[in-house]
């Protein structure tokens, strides 16, 4: 990249999130660090229970009852140490979120327009007429046809794709600097998914918004992310620029994920699954969380957890948490 390196918009260091449950302490996120710069998209990939959603929710105060340690510096302020009122001001204006299921994020008994204008008025001193004009503009911007009419519709009158667009309109209403999209297209058809991903890309180009794209779908990451963080059982397993990760994955878990996908030419052949299942996060076993499912596992993997490190020969931007890939004897 050319030009002076800009300071990251968000710096997360050693983030750990744990919950007390009747069965014991559940360690959802166990020491994750990443940076996010303006205009970039970070893809966080992981399966259910990997901690990918909890990690970002904990930063904006959406994980009630969690024990959170580490740092999340946004604009020089540590989000994890801010009082609730200040965090509330940051949610929406600084960091906005889009969730998987728009139907559960919108109130069924209020019109789409009312919900957007109320959100704007909660953060800015504008009249409801002014806010309504903005809401119509926003709906048009995200591709709702005839927004001046559809603004008065109730959520049930929108299709799934339109609801997700309305959620995006609401999320970008205050021109946030970071947009966290948590599985934004998982409930949608591929055709609508492709429309929504395009829309997010366009908004990013227009406004320079930084995006955190949380997904279980490697295809979505491949299509949207500049950088990728692969999470497994609460830990970062691999972190790399998109191209580098897809071309030469270093961690056996990432390799396994890529290999297990059905793709061109696999018809009539057996897929290569990752055997076994992810470990429990209540009293997780020591060592690398993936060791029980890893074909390359050595003694050391069962006793101590490898740090996220660049391999001896590779570039420093591509890091993986594996004892073997760190030694140049990469699997």
């Amino acid at each position: 990249m050319t030009g002076a390196p800009t300071a990251p918009l968000l710096e997360v260091r050693d983030l750990a999130v744990a919950f007390n449950t009747p069965d014991g302490v559940l360690e959802a996120v166990r020491g994750v660090s990443f940076d996010l710069a303006r205009g970039r998209t970070l893809g966080i990939v992981g399966e259910s229970g990997s901690g990918k959603s909890v990690a970002t929710q904990s930063m904006v105060g959406l994980t009630r009852g969690a024990r959170i340690t580490g740092q999340a510096l946004f604009d020089g302020r540590d989000l994890l140490a801010l009082p609730a009122a200040e965090l509330r001001a940051i949610r929406g204006r600084g960091i906005a979120m889009i969730f998987q299921s728009p139907m559960s994020s919108l109130h069924p008994l209020y019109t789409i327009g009312w919900q957007i204008t109320e959100m704007i008025r909660a953060h800015e001193h504008v009249t409801s007429a002014q806010a309504r004009v903005r809401a119509i503009e926003l709906l048009g911007h995200v591709g709702i046809p005839r927004p001046e009419r559809r603004v008065d519709d109730y959520p049930h009158q929108y299709s799934g794709g339109m609801l997700q667009r309305a959620m995006i309109a609401m999320a970008i209403a205050l021109n946030p600097r970071i947009l966290v999209a948590d599985e934004p297209t998982t409930a949608l058809d591929v055709t609508v998914q492709s429309q929504i991903l395009r829309l997010l890309r366009r908004l990013q180009q227009e406004f320079g918004t930084a995006i955190i794209m949380i997904t279980h779908d490697l295809g979505v990451v491949a299509e949207t992310a500049h950088d990728v963080l692969v999470m497994y059982a609460g830990r970062a397993m691999e972190q790399a620029p998109r191209e580098s990760l897809l071309r030469s994955p270093r961690h056996p878990y990432t390799q396994g994920l890529l290999r297990s996908r059905p793709r061109l030419g696999t018809h009539g052949t057996r897929l290569i699954p990752i055997p076994g299942q992810p470990p429990s996060l209540i009293a997780p076993p020591p060592g690398c969380p993936f060791h029980a499912r890893c074909e390359h596992s050595i003694d050391r993997c069962t006793s101590s957890a490898p740090p996220l490190a660049a391999s001896a020969d590779g570039d420093s931007a591509h890091r993986s948490a594996c004892w073997l890939s760190g030694q140049g004897t990469a699997p």
Binding site: V190, L218, L246
Partner: protein, 345 residues
């Protein structure tokens, strides 16, 4: 029609009555979820069925196994017309066709032990002495990769992937000929999906099963299917051997659907550039005249609005590849991108 057809559908229509929202009159409307589908399933094959939500693919699947009765048209199972068969008349066919559902959490009774869930089909169809059932169930558990010693556990003791194995064990208990798989891996994590897809493949080989495989994941469908049918608004718009469909889609809708799949491999380039479908599918309550896809089709011409295209071989294709389009895509042709539909009134 070929000799080895296990299932034949002839012009199957399934309508549902809907309450009219109109303030006056309150005419009762009918929603045609499946609007005249003819196709066959051949013994031992996997037929993939794809389409957007609401296109009628699940309704069609439920008609095939007669969980629903078609409004008109015929369903032939092994040559016998079962489209209007009564509950009692269907009983002998129930053993021969089964279904695997998407949700491994919702489709198993949480209060019953796994052994008795899997053993249900034996009890319902009164197969073999009760004393032998336990052994049969444990054989089934081993067959689908579950530990037979877990016979007395509850569904909540199993992970999502294992629960799907329980659903599969129940479906194959009576050695059916046809298994309809409705999104069988959609709720599973990526690393587990491949395990289940391999299992389905092994069972097909061992038991000679015929699959109707529904999924919204086009990469999964391509992997498992011998042939693929594409549905849009209640109708089949294209059907072809799997590779032919993915390599040489004729119908603009098929092409658009395929190009919406995220390009994954950094070395794999998008051959068709991407064709964005704008808007949502029209309401099945008031489907467009002529070709149902024409209002969203970049290639549409006036004929498309007037005349419904037949599902027949196009552009020199053999009988295995049929397309319902007046202006099918030919070899190497790209679709106009972002072009507004050309419609002459």
């Amino acid at each position: 029609m070929t000799a080895d057809a296990l299932i034949q559908l002839r012009d199957v229509v399934k309508e549902f009555p809907v309450q009219s929202r109109a303030a006056f009159g309150g005419r009762s409307e009918r929603l045609q979820a499946v609007a005249g589908v003819s196709l066959e399933l051949r013994r031992g094959e996997t037929l993939g069925l794809v389409g957007e939500s609401g296109c009628g693919k699940s309704t069609l699947a439920r008609c095939v196994v007669r969980l629903l009765q078609p409004s008109t048209g015929q369903i032939l199972f092994d040559g016998q017309d079962i489209s209007t068969a009564s509950h009692a008349e269907l009983a002998p066919y129930r053993r021969r066709m089964q279904m695997i559902f998407q949700d491994p959490y919702g489709s198993l009774n949480p209060r019953r032990r796994v052994g008795s869930i899997i053993g249900d089909p034996f009890a319902i169809h009164d197969v073999g002495p009760a004393g032998e059932r336990r052994r049969k169930v444990q054989d089934l558990m081993a067959l689908v990769g579950l530990n037979p010693e877990h016979y007395n556990r509850f569904p909540s003791d199993f992970s999502g992937g294992q629960r799907q194995r329980i659903g599969i064990a129940r479906a194959i208990a009576l050695r059916p000929e046809l298994v309809v798989c409705d999104e069988p891996v959609s709720a599973l994590d990526v690393s587990i999906q491949a395990q289940i897809l391999n299992l389905l493949d092994e069972l097909q080989g061992e038991l000679g099963l015929t699959y109707l495989f529904i999924s919204h994941d086009l990469a999964v469908v391509r992997h498992v299917s011998d042939r693929v049918a594409v549905m849009y608004l209640g109708r089949i718009v294209e059907i072809a051997p799997s590779e032919a469909l993915y390599e040489q889609a004729r119908h603009p809708y098929t092409r658009a659907l395929l190009s919406a799949v995220p390009v994954f491999d950094p070395d794999e380039t998008r051959t068709n550039a991407s064709v964005e479908l704008t808007g949502d599918p029209p309401s099945p309550l008031d489907p467009p005249r002529g070709c149902r896809f024409h209002p969203r089709c970049p290639r549409a011409q006036s004929r498309c609005a007037a005349e419904e295209p037949q599902l027949i071989p196009r552009a020199g294709d053999g009988p295995e590849h049929t397309t319902a389009c007046h202006f099918p895509l030919v070899e190497g042709e790209t679709m106009a991108i972002g072009a507004a539909p050309r419609m002459t009134p």
